[in-house]
Amino acid sequence: METEPTTPRPTPEEAAAALREAESAQESTRAVKVPAWYYPVLGLIIAPYGLLFVIPHEGWWLAAYLLGLVAFLTATVVLMRVGVNQMGVLRWLTPRELRPIAVWSLFPIIGGIGLYLVHGTPWAWVATTAGLGVAIGLFGPYHRRTSPYYQTSGNR
């Protein structure tokens, strides 16, 4: 057990070595990859969400709508918990890492808005969330290949 009743200050060389150790520990922690299945499953959860906009909100359909909403929220929470438990690390992606999916998401969102404005149909939102689901599903392998934190040797 390391004790420090009178911890001497490190020499410059010792301080540099300590900094290298700290940096290495940080790199190996950030390098824990999101599981390969995570984003494709998230995409599958999000894709059908638009159907909630076409379900009538009356009678038995209201029950279906509420069930769908609960299922969506539950699936998202369960996915996050399972993914984080598998990783052993909880790390939110940085803005830089999220930039690709933010840009890709603009296409189905703007497309959906345009479709709705032109045709006035709630099915536009079905197309939007389906498109978002595809974008998110494709983001997973892209992220695993390109995240700067994963570009270290021996990452898992």
Binding site: E2, E4, P5, P10, T11, P12, A25, S28, V89
Partner: protein
């Protein structure tokens, strides 16, 4: 326990394994106990002692969660812990002259 010096150097954090623990936790939001143990290559009891020391100083927080009848412990730095760790790193950089 030795107190932090004026320049931010913290003898508690400076102990090698505790420095690594703080470094890992500063990089992310939370790390599971087993993951820290695996990365540091120490036994659970050794890691528990270091965690206790950091918790006693108010630097580290642990959350217990039961999942599949198995208890998991998640570690995170407190706000004070992050500040103390970053001050300590700044003090180390000062010592190296970088």
């Amino acid at each position: 326990m030795s107190a932090t010096t004026d320049d931010g150097f913290d003898p508690t954090i400076h102990a090698p394994q505790r420095l690594r623990i703080c470094a890992m936790l500063d990089a992310v939001d939370q790390v599971e106990f087993g993951t820290v143990q695996e990365q540091l290559k120490v036994s659970a009891s050794v890691l528990s002692k270091h965690v206790s020391v950091l918790m006693d100083k108010g630097f580290l927080h642990q959350t217990r969660a039961t999942r599949d009848r198995r208890q998991r412990v998640w570690l995170s730095l407190t706000k004070e812990g992050k500040a103390a760790y970053r001050s300590h790193v700044a003090a180390l950089r000062e010592i190296t002259g970088a």
